[in-house]
């Protein structure tokens, strides 16, 4: 219940907002120009759906970046692969060389039977 004093105060009319403020304040508001909000009008029918779609794309992109070393950086992966395999490749090449040219590597110790026999002979002779 308002007292007489409060009613007396309420009866005092406040000043009205200066008329010229309207144009100045509205002119300073960004939405006053329709060109600045075309994208908002485009999104306005369902902004939550657009936000959800954007979030889904971000999630997919994040998962892709986190999981995909190879597809995300194919050149880097190739370099890493070739470096890693380079030693194996050299080892395989060495093994192949041993298999293909076994004689060359095994010959020196096995190609001296005759001198040995000769030596034995000399020993026997002696």
């Amino acid at each position: 219940m308002n007292s007489d004093f409060e009613k007396r105060l309420q009866e005092q009319p406040m000043r009205e907002v200066p008329g010229e403020w309207r144009a100045r304040i509205l002119a300073a508001s960004p939405a006053a120009s329709s060109t600045s909000v075309w994208w908002r009008q485009w999104l306005w029918p369902c902004p939550q759906a657009w936000a959800g779609l954007g979030a889904a794309w971000l999630l997919i992109l994040g998962m892709n970046l986190a999981a995909g070393d190879g597809p995300a950086h194919p050149a880097t992966a190739t370099v890493a692969f070739s470096r890693q395999e380079l030693a194996d490749l050299r080892q395989q090449q060495a093994m192949l060389a041993e298999i293909i040219f076994p004689v060359e590597t095994a010959e020196p110790p096995k190609l001296n039977p005759s001198p040995r026999s000769e030596m034995r002979r000399t020993e026997v002779v002696v």
Binding site: L9, M14, R22, I25, L26, S29, P30
Partner: protein
């Protein structure tokens, strides 16, 4: 399809309430203009700000109050307000042709200026916006009991301050 908030419509509906409220709280016309511009610019930038808002007027008063508090903090005018108000009645009320009424309005403006800004805001919303304490509490983000007690305290101070002239012209 819902439409974008119409800033012009918002201004026409609520500027007449925001202006005296801000002028009463800030006691400075230039600051009042700045805060009103800030509020409407914010509404224009963030088109979804009023989505789901039931009490548009209350929401705008809250925006305006928060912006006014921010401005006072930035400028450090909260302390200044206490001292400056008597010298700066800020033409809060409309002029009156009746000399007694005119004097009463000037004294009332001075007395309001002597209240702390938070009490002044509550008195304004209660007396001139005719809000309930619940609505005032929501607008100023304080408990309803706090709003009620601050209002009673401020009203008693005003009554005491204005008693001589009030008794004279009653």
């Amino acid at each position: 399809m819902s439409s974008l908030p119409n800033i012009e419509r918002l201004y026409d509906d609520h500027a007449s309430a925001l202006f005296p409220f801000l002028l009463n709280v800030l006691r400075n016309e230039a600051d009042t203009y700045d805060v009103m511009q800030e509020v409407f610019a914010k509404l224009a930038r963030r088109s979804g700000l009023l989505d789901g808002v039931r009490d548009e007027r209350g929401f705008l008063l809250r925006l305006a109050h928060n912006a006014a508090i921010d401005l006072m903090r930035r400028q450090g005018t909260r302390a200044r307000n206490y001292e400056q108000l008597a010298a700066e009645p800020a033409a809060l009320f409309a002029g009156s042709g009746d000399p007694d009424e005119q004097v009463f309005r000037e004294k009332l403006a001075e007395a309001l200026g002597e209240l702390p800004p938070d009490q002044r805001a509550i008195v304004h919303l209660k007396l001139w916006e005719k809000l309930t304490f619940q609505a005032i509490a929501e607008a100023l983000e304080i408990p309803p009991n706090t709003a009620a007690s601050r209002y009673r305290y401020a009203r008693d101070k005003l009554r005491e301050r204005l008693r001589p002239i009030y008794d004279e012209i009653k």
